[in-house]
């Protein structure tokens, strides 16, 4: 081996090592979460794990039912996505197809700015500004409920949905649009009948990545949803999400206790959910990606 080849090989190894790091880390996290939560899974019956009571600190009997946390996360996430989809998708269509260059210059950086606001700041805004508004608009006792959390999460999902949908819409070949226009279709007809359907798989993937972003969000939901572990599908009730539970309880939990293991199980479920979402979204994107 010449000196040159040796050098080349060393550089190659370093580069591939760097790119492998993230895979190794994900695998290690999976392994660690499962290792910490497995004893709890084996010890506790399935019925108890999916019971409806999450009472981790009690002088009588502790309960670690995951169901209220699961429904809490799902309720907040689905409401957030329902709110975010119209804003995200319509916004992306406008930016990609209709906005003048100067508008784009202004809109894009602001959307990126929204994506970059720390979630604790958004949470604080939610607690002080949004919660009282929600309370007054719907005549409630308090604004600390699932709906307030969902609105904040929608704010965080919108930039993700816009920027990925924007890419999808812009990758529709110009020839399709030109053909449509040549047949006498108006600009709006072209957008809704040609461009939008063609970009739809990309938009679906954008929405799924938005869900992934939202379901893992912690700080903002913890500050405004009230964190009562009750099973509900009513938007004005308080909910406790999986992420908020881990964040709030991990700091004080006795190392190696049932509570500690149960929190790791919550983490495992959360990781599995986001993992599945991301894999499916990537599959959708890949399948419809043009060569």
């Amino acid at each position: 081996m010449t000196k040159h080849e040796l050098k080349e090989n060393i550089v190659k190894t370093i580069l591939s090592g760097a790119s492998l790091t993230s895979i190794i880390i994900v695998l290690l996290i999976f392994f660690f979460l499962i290792k910490e939560s497995a004893p709890f899974l084996l010890k506790t019956s399935f019925v108890d794990i999916f019971s409806s009571r999450w009472v981790p600190v009690s002088f009588i009997e502790e309960h670690f039912g995951m169901l209220p946390l699961l429904t809490g996360s799902l309720l907040v996430t689905s409401m957030a996505i329902i709110i975010a989809i119209p804003f995200g998708v319509i916004g992306a269509v406008y930016i990609a197809e209709l906005a003048r260059p100067i508008e784009k210059e202004i809109l894009k950086p602001f959307i990126e700015l929204l994506a970059g606001i720390p979630s604790v700041v958004i949470g604080f805004f939610g607690l002080v500004v949004l919660a009282p508004i929600v309370k007054n608009v719907f005549h409630l006792g308090t604004g600390l409920n699932a709906l307030t959390g969902a609105v904040l999460l929608a704010l965080m999902a919108i930039p993700t949905i816009i920027s990925i949908s924007d890419d999808a819409i812009r990758s529709v070949p110009a020839s399709y649009k030109q053909a449509s226009m040549a047949l006498g279709a108006t600009k709006m007809q072209t957008i809704w009948k040609v461009t939008f359907p063609d970009a739809l798989p990309g938009i679906v993937a954008a929405i799924m990545l938005g869900i992934g972003r939202v379901i893992g969000e912690t700080m903002a939901v913890m500050m405004v949803t009230g964190n009562a572990a009750i099973m509900t599908l009513y938007p004005f009730e308080s909910v406790r999400t999986m992420t908020a539970t881990i964040a709030a309880e991990m700091g004080e939990v006795a190392f190696g206790s049932d509570h500690y293991k149960a929190l790791f199980l919550v983490g495992t479920i959360l990781l599995l959910l986001t993992f599945i979402l991301n894999v499916v979204a990537q599959k959708v994107l890949k399948k419809y990606r043009r060569v």
Binding site: V57, F59, L127, S238, E252
Partner: protein, 287 residues
């Protein structure tokens, strides 16, 4: 050119990092360096003590961190802090773990704290008994009219289960029963205050210092020990005499036998100057 400057940057960074690491290990070895970790309730108080102590003893260094009573006790057991600040007693489980690690923890009560019951200023309710509080927090009472107020749903606010105050309140007010599942668990005392000041049906609890600080935006409710006894507002006098029922000691836990540095600091907190700082921080002196 670019590559060279990047390399230089990395080298410089490594140098700075290693000097910092060296320095911190040097200070750790220094006998005058002291760490206090634990209760979030006590962070303000301990910081005030540390500041005053460092001023009176030049060259000494006290670092204070929060994280919760349990975190502090765990750190003491693991040997990562000299003093653990705790707003609750050490649990039997924690004592056994400490013993397994060969540590004999010593408990020193350094101050007292009253827990104030706060409601919205518009709430007309005049007083609440311990029994009524228990029924509100366990979810038996859900409307203010059941405790002599207006016809309005009660919004129950509590701290998160990781808080020492949560456990204390559960033990002494709820008689060790479970909180109502509908109780909203707030991540901080300030968010309880925020909600109580804006939601007219809300009730919450907080350390007396916080309640005094939020005067005007929340109302502190006098508490009756039994349904027939006199309603009493929390204050230094009523907490010291024991007539206000929801009060607790705040503790320092240290490894026994304690080092001279630790001893000096604790003697300072218990001195008249130290206890004066307790009063200034809106807690109740122990002596």
């Amino acid at each position: 050119m670019k590559k060279k400057s990047l390399l230089a940057g990395i080298v410089a960074f490594a140098l700075v990092a290693s000097t910092i690491a060296l320095n911190s290990s040097k200070t750790l070895a220094n006998q005058k360096y002291l760490t206090v970790k634990g209760s979030d309730t006590m962070v303000h108080l301990v910081s005030a003590w540390a500041e005053s102590y460092m001023k009176s003893k030049p060259g000494s260094n006290v670092s204070v961190t929060g994280g919760g009573s349990g975190t502090g006790i765990a750190a003491l057991i693991n040997g990562t802090t000299d003093v653990a600040a705790a707003s609750r007693d050490m649990k039997a489980k924690e004592k056994t773990i400490a013993q397994q690690k060969g540590i004999t923890p010593k408990e020193i009560a350094v101050a007292k704290d009253g827990i104030a019951i706060v409601v919205n200023p518009k709430n007309p309710v005049k007083s609440l008994s311990m029994d009524q509080l228990k029924k509100i927090y366990t979810g038996k009472y859900t409307n203010w009219k059941q405790v002599g107020g207006v016809n309005k749903n009660i919004l129950v606010l509590s701290r998160e289960s990781s808080s020492g105050t949560y456990v204390f309140f559960q033990e002494h007010v709820l008689d060790k029963q479970d909180y109502s599942p509908r109780a909203r668990l707030m991540s901080s005392t300030s968010s309880i205050m925020q909600s109580v000041s804006s939601d007219s049906g809300a009730i919450g609890y907080a350390g007396l210092g916080y309640a005094v600080g939020a005067k005007g935006s929340v109302k502190t409710v006098p508490v009756k020990k039994t349904n027939t006894s006199v309603a009493i507002l929390p204050s230094e006098k009523t907490i010291k005499s024991g007539s206000y029922p929801i009060a607790r000691d705040l503790y320092f836990y240290v490894k026994s036998p304690e080092s001279q540095t630790v001893k000096n600091f604790i003697n300072f907190t218990l001195s008249s100057k130290g206890q004066q700082i307790v009063r200034q921080a809106e807690y109740i002196p122990i002596k």
